[in-house]
């Protein structure tokens, strides 16, 4: 049994022990996308421009710097729940991000209305902005949606709890 548990250790990572599907706190705003998935975010955050069919919200500093970022997007490529962590890491690198580091990953996670996989990683964009992100691919009965929660490393310790809370409240 010990051998089996050790062999399966990469499937569920304790880094995602916080992920318990929970309705959004009172007062949070929501943004739905046409597929039916719903993003919840703090009322102090603002909706951001995003792709058609997707939704984003963010918290910005007075100087315009992004302090927190949330996005939900219907599955667009060939990604699957099974290959999601490696797909996302490779995808970020293909987009031109540098120094992409995988920090944690887990499969078989439960969400509101679905189940899926998550990866936590960090990367530097082409303009030199570094972000830590949690990106999850969540499969519901008739659709699959990606939720991304990101913040600069300097803001991560302050914003990660809100970002995690948004993932917990995400309706797939």
């Amino acid at each position: 049994m010990t051998v089996a548990a050790a062999a399966c250790g990469g499937v569920r990572d304790s880094a995602f022990a916080w992920l318990v599907p929970t309705p959004a706190p009172p007062g949070w705003a929501t943004a739905s996308i046409p597929s039916g998935a719903r993003l919840a975010y703090p009322s102090a955050w603002r909706r951001l421009v995003s792709d058609r069919g997707a939704a984003s919200a963010g918290l910005t500093a007075a100087d315009g710097r992004l302090l927190g970022y949330l996005n939900i997007t219907p599955r667009q490529g060939g990604e699957t729940v099974a290959d999601w962590p490696s797909f996302r890491i490779a995808h970020n690198a293909r987009e031109g991000d540098r120094d992409v580091r995988r920090l944690a990953a887990a499969k078989g996670l439960r969400f509101r209305g679905g189940s899926g996989s998550c990866v936590k990683d960090s990367y530097t964009t082409r303009i030199g902005a570094r972000y830590v992100e949690i990106a999850c691919l969540v499969a519901a009965s008739t659709r699959a949606t990606v939720i991304v929660a990101a913040a600069p490393p300097a803001a991560w310790s302050r914003e990660s709890r809100v970002l995690e809370r948004a993932i917990m409240a995400f309706r797939a």
Partner: protein
């Protein structure tokens, strides 16, 4: 004499190998499909920070089925990708 002493140990070793093989097979069943690289190409020209606004997502261009994949135009071709502008990467699997 020596042979009879080693037999239980050998049996235990075989059992251990079988257990490890079973464990590996059980874990492997999670991956049912191959990693497919997303299609599309891009060479973004804008490198500004992501802009913010109140734009609500359109009612078109989304997928409602897990088997269908909707392609959001990339490289700012009608798409407002933050990742194409140097901001945080959004959730689209295309470039």
């Amino acid at each position: 004499m020596r042979r009879s002493i080693n037999r239980p140990a050998r049996l235990a070793a075989i059992c251990l190998v079988v257990l490890v093989a079973l464990a590996a097979a059980a874990c492997g069943s999670n991956s049912s499909s191959a990693n497919t690289a997303p299609s599309g190409s891009s060479s973004p020209s804008s490198q500004s920070a992501p802009s913010s606004g109140g734009a609500a997502p359109s009612t078109s261009g989304s997928s409602t089925s897990s088997s269908s994949v909707s392609g959001i135009p990339q490289n700012n071709g009608g798409d407002q990708d933050a990742d194409n502008n140097g901001g945080p990467s959004d959730g689209d699997g295309n470039l």
